[in-house]
């Protein structure tokens, strides 16, 4: 799965820049939209009650004290939570839920087509089979906890990673919109003093959370606050960690360091429950060097701790821009994703929190029906999505259009379901808010039932 296209790399670079750049964001190519959230200022906070080192966006005038009080006050352990999982690069839907046994499929995919017996049949449309790595989702689907969107997208799909992802993030096919669809929801439903309401579990802001008025946050890992020193352990280590807080100084410059050091020592003690994974999970998560499973495990622990979360974004492991040698890493990244998502669902169930959370899995587009000459696939149009959770209806949203009539003039899958319809349904049925205030032209879109 090497060989990401140049445009993809540039797109990634720009995405990173959202978190950091103020004015003067780049124009990579004429007509390309700037990522939502461009220009939001960042400030780093520590939420002691929440126990997180946070990069907070759009809260430059928010005093620390107010922020902490806000978190304490905003805690509402009954609020619904949406977790947005992004498959970066345009995931190949025709491998994830593949038309097994379709002769046309085998013809389009001479080296990449999966054998009918490789994956479990999809109960709602047995012409389709699950990628073997998605067996955990098949299992959850069997329990009525997964709604599949087999061909989700929009008409006249843009095949630029950058532009298409932007559309999904802002919830409109509008290159100029600068706030994310989740951010606009938070502007309506959130508060000015609770950055945790929109949380990117990553090193930097995810643009779909970009808000106009309320603060949002980014944190890499819930347990990312250790103070390790080489060859210091046992009793001396405990003494050392306490000693960080023991400096004093009346001098202005040195006093500032002493003061922060004292805060550090207090905070570190408060975070001890989350340190080194000591917070624990009631179910096992996959072991991986990728942070994804640990982030989900930490997320479940945060929800269990009553932190006031509403919208959370996480990037799935792997890179799905599979222009070449797609078979190499695709399955393992997908397996880690699905295994982690299943663990997350089981974790929430074990903690009695499953009714509060819906997971939405998405990618900026699907891939071309026909494989290319490099054992890979090029950018396509409609792709696949999933809603996961105890409350979801568990039925397909849209249908698989088939290869015979379901490909457009360029050989890409046509969308049978508009991503903005999904957003409207989530906003209204899950969050209980008016979609028209958040999604442009919401009235012209279907708002199908997505909950049980």
């Amino acid at each position: 799965m090497s060989c990401a296209c140049n445009e993809f790399s540039r797109s990634s670079l720009l995405r990173r820049s959202v978190a950091e750049a103020g004015r003067g964001l780049p124009v990579v190519e004429a007509g390309m939209p700037l990522p939502a959230g461009s220009g939001l200022s960042r400030r780093t906070f520590l939420a002691r009650t929440a126990g997180l080192a946070l990069s907070v966006y759009g809260a430059s005038k928010l005093p620390l004290g107010l922020f902490e009080e806000g978190i304490a006050r905003a805690a509402a352990p009954t609020d619904p939570i949406l977790v947005s999982i992004f498959l970066d690069g345009g995931a190949d839907s025709l491998s994830m839920l593949y038309p097994a046994g379709d002769a046309q499929y085998a013809g389009l995919r001479p080296t990449l087509a999966l054998a009918p017996e490789a994956g479990l049949p999809f109960a709602e449309d047995t012409a389709l089979h699950w990628h073997p790595s998605l067996a955990p989702l098949a299992e959850l689907h069997g329990e009525g906890k997964v709604s599949v969107l087999p061909a989700v997208g929009y008409t006249n799909a843009d095949q630029s990673h950058f532009t298409s992802r932007h559309y999904w993030e802002v919830g409109a096919t509008d290159a100029h919109l600068r706030t994310g669809w989740l951010g606009r929801y938070l502007d309506v439903a959130g508060t000015a003093d609770n950055p945790l309401q929109g949380l990117a579990l990553s090193d930097s802001l995810q643009p779909s959370l970009a808000s106009a008025n309320v603060p949002i946050a980014a944190v890499s890992q819930v347990d990312d606050y250790d103070f390790w020193a080489q060859n210091v352990w046992g009793e001396p280590e405990v003494r050392m960690l306490d000693a960080i807080g023991s400096f004093t100084s009346s001098d202005a410059g040195r006093g500032q360091v002493a003061e922060v050091a004292a805060q550090v020592a207090r905070l570190r003690a408060q975070l001890q429950p989350f340190d080194d994974g000591n917070w624990g999970s009631p179910v096992p998560y996959p072991a991986s060097s990728d942070p994804f499973p640990a982030r989900l495990a930490g997320l479940a622990a945060m929800i269990a701790a009553g932190l006031p979360l509403r919208c959370v974004t996480v990037s799935a492991p792997g890179m799905y821009d599979t222009h070449a040698d797609q078979a190499t890493d695709f399955g393992s990244a997908l397996a880690l994703t699905a295994d982690s998502l299943e663990a997350f669902q089981r974790d929430l169930e074990a903690r009695g929190l499953a009714d509060r959370v819906i997971v939405h899995v998405w990618s900026e587009f699907g891939r071309r029906g026909e494989e290319n000459g490099s054992h890979g696939t090029d950018h396509g149009a409609a792709g696949i999505g999933f809603l996961i959770g105890s409350q979801v209806k568990g039925q397909m949203l849209g249908e698989f259009p088939g290869l015979a009539s379901g490909l457009d003039d360029e050989g890409n899958l046509k969308a049978t379901f508009d991503f903005r319809s999904l957003y409207c349904s989530l906003l209204e049925q899950w969050f209980g808010t008016d979609a028209e205030a958040i999604i442009p032209n919401a009235a012209s879109l279907d708002h199908p039932a997505i909950l049980k």
Binding site: N6, R10, L13, L14, R16, S17, A19, E20, A21, G22, R23, G24, L25, P26, V27, V28, E29, S41, R42, R43, T44, F45, L46, A53, L54, D203, Y225, F227, W228, A229, Q230, N231, V232, W233, G234, E235, P236, E237, R239, M240, A243, I244, S246, F247, T248, S249, S250, D251, A252, G253, R254, G255, Q256, V257, A258, V260, A261, Q263, V264, L267
Partner: protein, 449 residues
């Protein structure tokens, strides 16, 4: 007021004062260097900083993990490592420090530029003019490719003026927010600056930056009440010759070296000095470095990258790990990625999150020297003072005030008192010494200068 009227420090110039100068005008002393500089006396010490020998990088060349040479134009993080190495090894410490000042002053982020090559080109420009003439520097910056990308100078045409650079030119680079210019001046200056463009070549990126007179607005502009058919160089000069620039320049430059604002008489004398020199940078820097406030005023927090470079200098250790790049993202100063066009905000250098970054940096600077409690078992005394003096020696004996020494000794004494068995008596002093090195490194005294 004559230039000689900038006050000069005449108090004692010993190791402590030399240490402060070396941290503020460079990246900290190498072992023994503070004593050598103290022997020179203040005047010669500052003169040597202003007039260094021919540029040389002293010591082993930098490597990333695995020992390979750096690829600063291409590899992720190697841009940071490349510059950090210069900070550690350059024999022109003030030049390198001023390069960092200009990087903050004309803050350009590769997050927006998207080219390490162009960022390094800009870095070379800052180094070339580090102690040169501000007008030449500003003109160089205005046509610099990274800046033309970052603040849309290349998108600014007579048909569609882009005000981004014009605004920051005045607000951030020369005059200060709302200080002596109007919105109309911004629009007019944008017109003066029109004409820059470049090409995009697949596989190469942004190339061929050039001034194209067919894109330039040749009409009459009115700036600061003066009218004329101004061009891009005029736009720069108009700002520098505009009197509010003197105050902005002097105060801002001062703030990089001294944390409290200059006294009114000093400010006035520095402005005169700057203007009379024809906007030269070196005389003003020299006067600031000799000012009494630098030696008698409060301690100043070291910028994160200065702290890291200084720890390496104290250990005579080259850049030999790529870790410094990711650590810089935690400690709050990733070179070539300032947070926005206004640069890093000094008041926010330190919070509980970036403090942890400084801790991690201290651990990475010292971990390969960490003593093994098994191998060193029984080799160190159960003596807090002895262990503290060894820990201080590890970092080149930086000055420590009594309150900090008290805290460090308090830790060491209590940790040693836990040694209630023979194996602990043999090994705890080793662990305590390792811990003391860390605590010294993050102490208020060693984090400030």
């Amino acid at each position: 007021m004559a230039a000689a009227d900038v006050p000069v420090y005449h108090g004692p110039f010993g190791k402590r004062e030399a240490e402060r100068l070396l941290w503020r005008a460079g990246f900290g002393p190498k072992p023994g260097e503070a004593k050598d500089v103290a022997r020179k006396g203040l005047k010669r010490a500052v003169d040597d900083l202003l007039h260094p020998p021919r540029a040389r990088l002293i010591g082993p060349a930098p490597t990333a993990d695995g020992g390979e040479p750096l690829a600063p134009r291409d590899a992720w993080g190697h841009d940071h490592l490349w510059w950090l190495d210069r900070m550690v090894r350059s024999n022109q410490q003030l030049v390198e420090r001023m390069t960092l000042v200009w990087h903050d002053w004309f803050a350009t982020s590769n997050a927006g530029v998207g080219s390490q090559k162009w960022m390094l080109t800009q870095n070379k420009l800052f180094r070339k003019h580090a102690l040169g003439n501000f007008e030449s520097l500003l003109i160089g910056v205005t046509r610099d490719p990274a800046m033309l990308i970052w603040l849309n100078g290349r998108d600014n045409t007579k048909w569609a003026p882009n005000e981004n650079y014009a605004r920051e030119l005045m607000e951030i680079f020369t005059l200060g927010a709302g200080n002596g210019y109007t919105e109309e001046d911004v629009r007019e200056q944008a017109r003066s600056l029109t004409g820059w463009r470049n090409d995009w070549v697949d596989g190469e990126g942004d190339v061929n930056f050039r001034y194209d007179s067919s894109r330039h607005d040749n009409g009459v502009k009115v700036v600061f009440g003066k009218s004329g058919n101004f061009g891009w160089e005029d736009a720069c000069r108009l700002c520098i010759h505009h009197s509010p620039h003197l105050t902005y320049f002097v105060r801002r430059l001062w703030s990089y070296f001294i944390p409290t604002p200059p006294p009114a008489t000093t400010e006035s004398a520095l402005k005169t000095l700057y203007k009379r020199s024809g906007y030269d940078i070196a005389p003003v820097v020299g006067a600031i470095l000799k000012h009494p406030r630098l030696y008698t005023g409060p301690a100043m927090l070291k910028p994160p990258v200065v702290q890291v470079a200084g720890m390496l200098r104290a250990r005579r250790r080259p850049v030999d790990t790529g870790a410094w790049a990711w650590i810089s993202e935690i400690d709050g100063q990733r070179l070539f990625y300032p947070p926005n066009v206004a640069g890093w905000t000094e008041e926010r250098w330190l919070d509980t999150s970036t403090f942890r970054g400084r801790w991690i940096a201290a651990n990475y600077a010292s971990r390969k020297y960490a003593l093994d409690p098994g191998a060193s078992s029984g080799k160190f005394p159960l003596d807090a003072k002895d262990l503290l003096s060894r820990a201080l020696d590890f970092w080149g004996n930086p000055a420590m005030r009594t309150d900090t020494r008290t805290a460090l000794l308090g830790f060491a004494n209590s940790a040693l008192s836990d040694a209630d068995q023979n194996w602990k008596k043999a090994q705890y002093p080793v662990l305590v010494l390792n811990a003391l090195r860390m605590l010294v490194a993050v102490s208020p005294d060693y984090q400030t200068c």
